[in-house]
Symmetry: C2
Subunit: 634 residues, 2 copies
Amino acid sequence: MRQQEQIKIKNYRSEGFIGKYQKLVRDEVIPYQYSVLCDEAPDTEKSHVVRNFINAGKAVRGEDTGDGFYGMVFQDSDAAKWLEAVAYSLALFPDPELEKTADTLIGYIADAQDKDGYLNTYYTIKDREKRWTNLLEGHELYCSGHMMEAACAYYEATGKRALLDVMLKNAEHIYQHFIVEGNEGYPGHPEVELALMKMYRLTGNQHCLALAEHFINTRGVDPHFYEKEKEKRSWTVWGNDATNAEYQQSGAPVREQKDATGHAVRAVYLYTGMADLAAQTNDAELLGACRRLWESITKRRMYVTGGIGSTVLGEAFSVDYDLPGDTAYAETCASIGLMFFASKMLENEVDSEYSDVMERAFYNTVLAGMQLDGKRFFYVNPLEVIPGISGVSPTHRHDLPQRPKWYACACCPPNVARLLSSFGKYAYGENKDTAFCHLFAAGQVCFDNGMKLTCWTEYPYDFTVTYEVEKGGKLALRIPSFSKHFSITINGKEADYTLKKGYAYMEVQDGDSVMLVLDGAPEFIYASSKVPRLTGCKALQRGPLVYCFEGVDNGEDVLSLSLKKDAKVTASDYQEELLGGTVILSVEAVRQEKIEGLYTNQRPGEEDCKAIAVPYYTWGNRGENQMRVWMNER
Amino acid sequence: MRQQEQIKIKNYRSEGFIGKYQKLVRDEVIPYQYSVLCDEAPDTEKSHVVRNFINAGKAVRGEDTGDGFYGMVFQDSDAAKWLEAVAYSLALFPDPELEKTADTLIGYIADAQDKDGYLNTYYTIKDREKRWTNLLEGHELYCSGHMMEAACAYYEATGKRALLDVMLKNAEHIYQHFIVEGNEGYPGHPEVELALMKMYRLTGNQHCLALAEHFINTRGVDPHFYEKEKEKRSWTVWGNDATNAEYQQSGAPVREQKDATGHAVRAVYLYTGMADLAAQTNDAELLGACRRLWESITKRRMYVTGGIGSTVLGEAFSVDYDLPGDTAYAETCASIGLMFFASKMLENEVDSEYSDVMERAFYNTVLAGMQLDGKRFFYVNPLEVIPGISGVSPTHRHDLPQRPKWYACACCPPNVARLLSSFGKYAYGENKDTAFCHLFAAGQVCFDNGMKLTCWTEYPYDFTVTYEVEKGGKLALRIPSFSKHFSITINGKEADYTLKKGYAYMEVQDGDSVMLVLDGAPEFIYASSKVPRLTGCKALQRGPLVYCFEGVDNGEDVLSLSLKKDAKVTASDYQEELLGGTVILSVEAVRQEKIEGLYTNQRPGEEDCKAIAVPYYTWGNRGENQMRVWMNER
């Protein structure tokens, strides 16, 4: 049974740290991304995505398709993710001009829908015969899924049904193909499952639920499905290996899967859909599988930054405890997907285990994905960068020391935009009598259950969180695992609360002021010795922020630094002007002296020094330089 | 001017540690490899190399070629390397039966030579039209080079000219094609340069010298040569990237090259030829280039084990200081090639800088390449292996925890065999009045300059080396850099010697007994902080042997161990029965306790313990287990 669920996007008005990011998305990311979609951004690879929809509309009307299709087979999803971000942003910041632009795009999308409900510009423009013949690589269900998410968000934000109706018709087309006509298959890139669940919960459409169940329940039942599909088709997109069922998360029925495998983004999107379905249908077996996969990720395959997917080869999970910092893939989108998964697990069972990981992924890998000015993005989030090696050595080409502008495959930037704009959905949850605070974010929240709170906090840089209660009820506050002690007072008096699975539950009355004081003292993090190379190393964390050491603060040489065993850590005051406003940490350290050549049988000298750390999410904002998260301990 | 050169293979009779290896090659490696070449080895991929020569002979005679050609385009070289190993072995251990077998094979080879001197079974059987049209991938010059080396060795060992005459005719064919007819080009896989220099020095054939000079001097003058070649041909072997001139060591004329780049084996084979030519022709400019490339390798791109080539991608050098232990390539053949290069640099200038590296490569990476029973081989020699990750994770597939039996591409096993059997050539050098001892190896050496020594030593496990002088002259003994102090006595009295560039020079008389006592105390090695991940780590060495820590000696868990900062190291007595006879080292260490999950903000407990180390060359001989060379220091 669903214990609680995400709040409606319109129910939250953000302030503070998150509010600043949401304004950045509104002011920088959304306009810039739209200029990319329209091919109007200077020095950026052509997107053509808007033209694709216009041209597909011509195809639908039987007209000449002009300059035809351009881009990746999943190009449509760029428009979908942008629209979804716009929807959330409109809910926060009404903007008739932007809404008009979005409506125009939605018009193009509606025009591009085939009469039978099919919607995908690649196939509609290039070759309708190829429809549904290559689920492994074709991304039709992926694009539909993203557009369904956009449709739900846009309806929630604006009340406008146009795109929702398009996508309900599209869902019906998919239902006809897979359920009524009984054509076999499930998406090579899972995504539609979680989107169908959103459609179902918004509209009650039973075919959406049935389709989500179908794709989840048939996946991996025949582990050779993609091979058979490949034999039947004469075309390919990338020549993906159809035999690698484990990589496709289809080596076994999902209920039997034990390890998070394959493409990391696909995996967590699938698990999100599974967790959502489990909550919706009270499916204990499916929830059990979700728990196992959650453990596989978070207990054996996750970086301390909440990054997942250790290898660039297939952008994939590799094996247990294989978590190299320097060759990490740790895609921004994968950590966003991990937040989705965590959020849906929280709906199954309120347990801070999930919200802790959600927070770790958000404040570290997800935020690191975007430059502080909102103009450049990382796909790949390594934990160690050495200019001269990173981005250059053949095994490190993907680990760039600087955020690039835009990618031909533009998945991460709009994904960051939609996540930031919908942050409230991850921060707050509710059920009929309780308001859940999973993440700490200043602003006003109106719950559908009638409760109403205003949260004041400078989190993640300060650890006092105050809730002013306008309309009371039951309140559940997460106590993060980083906080070694905490206190809760109501109107200045010690609160009467019950602690359960990392959440403090209490009754609050209209007019109450609830103050949660957490312990955000800097602390060192140690890794399991099962992770190669991390024995004898430590990382530095303050509150939810993992810190890193950059060359610019450390004499351009981080590699020669070790942190002292009993190092004292000193936190600076909050520095408004530095890195968008931050707290830096100074740690007692030693620096190894330079030697001639590579090796010596004389112990190199050492000198005491201070090592300066900044939050990981801010790295790479001051030019190319060395960066490390895990430091040797001396 | 050549300061000294390698001794003749027949001039050395080995004993002791090296002698044991040479007997192993004779008893195990050579017979097993021949059974592979003849497709008679059980459970081993077909080689077909002998049949290829037989079938090429049919092609030459205009007969049907039967079962034709099978194998890699460079399959011929397997026979060549085997023959070369046989030649050296016959020089050490006369064996009429083996010699007969070799003569038979040589007969097949002679029959396979085309009337115009061309020799390559792939082209002769499959398509003569393709001859010399794909120097980038075609390996014709590579195969000729290896066969020339075999021819020289076989002539030196047996006095038989048959193969030498074949290869002189082949050289003349190559001379016609490249010099007389003026066809452009140089080998994609350098090797023929060093082989032609051997041919020249053995036979005085000026065309061999001219060809070596030609290939070296024209290389990289037009960095687009391979691209142009590719445009002219309609076939490919592997579809190599012809535009990557740096990878092909042809981005600039060799005299202007500054960094060791590209395929590591090819690079050091090329540099060996260059160094040989520089010594032969007194070419100071070319020697300068060799010195720069030597520095590039040994000061910035070499593992502590003497392994080179950091990346599996192209089996190549990557960039300065990029020396990951766990994803290392460090091919056995590349370290053999590094020994070749060092040996030729020593001919240009007697400096222990070269012999130290030669010894490091030999006792660590080269010896590690072969299982102690001579039956299995590593191509790839990582410095860290974690079962479950190594050989399994997509980025670690090449780093196997166990030596495989035989490879379809069988370059390393015969290369190890020929190197071990010709060890004397690397250990000893001479000029008209001096005997040089570069490496310490028991046995009897007769120099062409008339000097005669018998060396007694248990090196590399004992560090006293005694030379009994039968015929005196000038003696030059290398003082290895690992030895922090040393003494030399002659007939028990302190010797009168001059120290120059790491060599002690002295006069010795008939009947003298010269005793060199080195310091082989175990010592820790530290790396430059420019090498990522090695700050705060140390490796363990005793004499020339780098040690490593294996699971089997350390409770199946090496990852949780750190060595104490001021750790005492205790050496065991020599253990006859262990790992073919070895000394193990015990080091004061601490073991980090296990934690639940991946990360903790509580410092894990530690427990004092002893960490046990064995020589790196012996690793992986006791089943699959963890192994590390660099250990964290605590």
